[in-house]
Amino acid sequence: MILAFSAGIGILFMAGSYLLMKHDLIRVVAGVVLISNAANLFIMAAALTRGRAPILPLANKLDVSDPVVQAMTLTAIVISFGVSALLLAIVYRVYLSHRTVDIDQLGDVESRQVEQEERTDLQDEPELPADLETGEVRA
């Protein structure tokens, strides 16, 4: 059982990390979803015990399963589900405003913008007396 759990978590995490390296934001989101599910499985694996359902009144307190793990996993599943939906919404807004979800193209837009900013910064800067200059090289 331990081997099955670790193999399952390992494969999920590996596939998720692989998708994270992709250049398509949708795939990156899929990778994040896989990794968060690996975490959910990890909680189960960390403390899952077999036993009767833990519902009061208990006949024998010893052979019940640990309810805390299941509660934690359920909460984590709900949270990761909600966050994944939100992440997809954010990626959709990126697509609407850029018409692309390719990381390289988004990076190009970003670096162009930064470059432009630095340039307007230079134009804005009025001439200062030479002794106030910090000795920067002007482009």
Binding site: L20, L25, V28, V29, V32, I35, S36, A38, A39, F42, I43, A46, A47, V68, V69, M72, T75, A76, I79, S80, G82, V83, L86, L87, I90, V91, R93, V94, S97, H98, L106, V109, E110, Q113, V114, E117, E118, D121, L122, D124, E125, P126, L128, L132, T134
Partner: protein, 460 residues
């Protein structure tokens, strides 16, 4: 009473989610609700310092079964700080006109998450409130709804989601080791757990909080997010949300896993020093003000790690001082980023001097506490590093001051008419606060000592 700020923010957030936050009146209403929550948390801080921590078990369950909420001086201080920063940022936007309808509600949701996070004494609950704050923050980064805001939001959400997943794995590992979720029991049982697995869990949690703080090897997302988002949101990220990282490091490292923290001292020292040097050098090489401030944030959190490595005696109160003052400095600087006028220039200088740690500004206190702790713990080289870091920050802060504010009067007025008066007054008030703390430091020093004592068990 302990849950009052949390409850008020939560109820108000739900109500304001349905309203159009762009309208001036709604913005004012949201600000006043947040102000009430802030005032209550100030009162709670005072009360906790006077009478010791307040504990409450949710739903009247027995302790050990129900979720425990406990407010001690550490949590109360961070809650007050974060609510104050959120209030300043919200007022800043309300003065200038809120751009999207959900902004006030999102700030209130973030306040809810942060209040809960600083209040809870249950590690899984910590994760839940952590996620509530982060979800609000993911959307807030996209505020402004321009192309760059959305890009920043996507980067921020993907990277920090991975951080949250790491944190969740760390929580599960701690539960596996100790079999408990409430912090007191975890702290007790962690001492008898095996060294190697406990160290692994501690490392995973450390990575999660380092991603949040933007420490050196985990900083890659920070610059593009801080520059891509609007100044008010950047102030929220560095003044309120980064508190999760510093509070988490000191609560989990100092409070729950002190043995693991001690064994990690060399790593903390190395990462902290690299952060300071990397952030400082990168900040010097940048021209635009938001880039400089973003890299400066990476440098400043390095000091937190150095103080954490010094140890419980002198280090922990220094950690608290550094985090609080850094949050205030960065809020002031990010908010004054796009403003012009003499009042703002003066405020900016105070913020800049405070980042560099020059008296009489408040930043001097944190540097002094760190240097004192380093000398007590026989780390002479930390003193050198702090001084070098201080020089770097004077250099880059004065560089942007010169470029932005120190330009001839007539030309400035032609290019940039002074910004709206209410925004300038808000920034000036923040600067006055930093100056006041620097001149009359006793209250904050006493508070941070008290908070550090609460952490190590002395203040109970």
């Amino acid at each position: 009473m302990v849950v009052a700020p949390l409850g008020i923010c939560w109820a108000a957030a739900l109500a304001f989610a349905a309203l159009d936050g762009r309208r001036k009146r709604i913005g004012w209403a949201a600000s006043s609700v947040l102000a009430i929550a802030w005032l209550i948390s100030i009162w709670l801080t005072w009360d906790v310092v006077q009478h010791g921590p307040r504990t409450m078990v949710a739903g009247d369950w027995e302790p050990g079964i129900g979720i425990v909420l406990r407010l001690d001086a550490l949590g109360a201080l961070f809650a007050t700080l974060s609510l104050g920063v959120l209030l300043a940022a919200l007022l800043f936007e309300v003065f200038g006109g809120v751009r999207s309808r959900s902004f006030p509600a999102l700030v209130l949701f973030l306040a809810t998450g942060l209040c809960g996070l600083f209040l809870t004494a249950d590690i899984f609950n910590f994760y839940v409130f952590f996620e509530i704050s982060m979800i609000a923050a993911y959307v807030l980064v996209g505020y402004g709804e321009e192309r760059r805001n959305f890009r920043a939001s996507a980067i921020f959400a993907i990277v920090n989601l991975l951080g949250s997943v790491f944190f969740l794995i760390g929580i599960a590992a701690i539960y596996h080791l100790t079999g408990r979720l409430d912090m007191d029991a975890v702290a007790q049982r962690a001492t008898i757990a095996g060294q190697a697995p406990a160290l692994l869990a501690a490392t995973i949690i450390f990575v999660a909080f380092s991603i949040k703080l933007g420490l050196f090897p985990f900083h890659f997302w920070l610059a593009s997010v801080y520059t891509g988002t609007r100044p008010a949101v950047a102030a929220i990220l560095s003044g309120a949300l980064a508190n999760i990282g510093s509070y988490g490091l000191i609560r989990f490292g100092g409070g729950l896993l002190p043995r693991e923290l001690e064994s990690a001292t060399p790593v903390l020292l190395i990462i902290g020093s690299l952060s300071i040097l990397y952030g400082g050098v990168q900040a010097i090489s940048r021209r635009s003000i938001s880039q400089v401030l973003a890299y400066s944030s990476i440098g400043q959190v390095g000091y937190i790690l150095l103080a954490l490595a010094i140890g419980p005696k002198a280090g922990f109160s220094a950690v608290i001082l550094i985090s609080v003052l850094n949050a205030l400095n960065k809020t002031l600087l990010f908010l004054s980023e796009n403003l012009r006028g003499r009042l703002v220039a003066g405020a900016f200088v105070i913020g800049a001097l405070s980042v560099a740690g020059i008296p009489p500004t408040a930043g001097f206190l944190s540097k002094a506490a760190l240097i004192k702790g380093a000398i007590d713990a026989d780390y002479a080289w930390i003193v050198v590093l702090v001084v070098v870091g201080g020089f770097l920050s004077v250099f880059y802060m004065m560089q942007i001051y010169q470029r932005t504010f120190w330009i001839p009067e007539t030309e400035e007025e032609a290019h940039h008419p002074p910004s709206p008066l209410d925004r300038r007054i808000l920034v000036a008030l923040l600067a006055l606060l930093i100056l006041a703390i620097g001149i009359w430091p006793q209250p904050l020093l006493a508070l941070s000592d008290h908070a550090a004592a609460a952490l190590t068990g002395g203040g109970r």
